[in-house]
């Protein structure tokens, strides 16, 4: 059951990303280009997304458990640590260079172009580097 619902919700997310234009680098880079010709569209994506998502999280918190059974897996970390800051900074630079964040990077593989595939494989490589880094530093 939870795999079926995950698939359906992933589908909805994919349609939302396509409709919003988040998978089009010119659109995203136009938003990040505050000092050039600025396209404010993504503010509207975020505003609408936050409004609906906030209502959803409020309801989930009241219910306290998942509909398919089991707990809510909410992040437990609360500290703003160097990992968070350096990670966000690193991601932001990569996002600014490419105009593609992880969700759209996955989506764009579906269009079967070489650049989109290269970018996705590079993301996987970056994640693999993190796993090695994380396991090495955990032992120190």
């Amino acid at each position: 059951m939870k795999n079926l619902t995950a698939f359906a919700i992933g589908l909805l997310f994919g349609i939302g990303l396509l409709v919003s234009g988040m998978n089009q680098p010119p659109k995203v880079l136009g938003f990040l280009d505050l000092f050039g010709r600025w396209d404010p569209s993504l503010i509207f994506v975020m505003g609408a997304g936050l409004a609906v998502s906030a209502a959803g999280f409020a309801i989930a918190r009241m219910r306290g458990k998942a509909l398919v059974g089991g707990p809510l897996y909410l992040p437990e970390k609360t500290k703003i640590d160097p990992r968070l800051l350096v990670g966000a900074l690193t991601f932001g630079v990569g996002w600014g260079l490419s105009g593609v964040c992880p969700g759209p990077a996955i989506i764009n593989v579906g269009f079967a172009t070489l650049p989109a595939t290269i970018f996705f494989v590079a993301i996987l490589a970056g994640m693999a580097v993190y796993e090695i880094f994380n396991r090495t530093t955990a032992r120190l």
């Binding site: 589908l11 990303l17 932001g92």
Partner: protein
């Protein structure tokens, strides 16, 4: 600041954003999971991770793009060159895992549950993205001309 009115698409942005928010709302209520693209993908690297729901979600995520591509919809154009894409992809992959999230996990879900970590992370990656685009499009382009 100059607004790019030609490319400004507020309606599709609002509709797409609402669908993304609805997906986030459903995933936490139905599956009890935070909808973060990098977290769901990165979780596949853990041996104990629950692969089936993660792969199901990712299959759903990519399906509309495969369908659009099959009917001949225009393909997204990645503006950056190959070497830039490789460097950028590694930074995105490493950074989102180190920072515990990306645009969806921190930007949509984290801020929605008023997590201070996500608010800070979103500000940092937005500012880093803006600074990077400034350097690439204006500072370096200006220096080259």
């Amino acid at each position: 600041m100059q607004i790019d009115w030609v490319n400004f698409t507020p309606l599709s942005a609002l509709l797409g954003g609402a669908l993304i928010g609805l997906a986030a709302a459903l995933l936490i209520n139905v599956n009890g999971r935070v909808m973060g693209a990098s977290g769901i993908l990165g979780g596949l690297f853990s041996a104990n991770a629950d692969w089936p729901w993660r792969l199901s979600f990712l299959a759903g995520l990519i399906a509309p793009a495969i369908a659009m591509n099959a009917i001949g919809a225009p393909k997204p154009v990645l503006l950056a060159g190959t070497s830039t894409l490789i460097v950028a992809g590694i930074l995105v992959g490493f950074g989102t895992r180190l920072g515990s999230g990306c645009t969806s996990g921190h930007g949509i879900c984290g801020i929605a549950r008023i997590s201070p970590r996500s608010i800070v992370a979103t500000l940092v990656f937005m500012l880093a993205g803006i600074a990077t685009v400034y350097v690439v499009r204006h500072a370096l382009a200006g220096a080259a001309s």
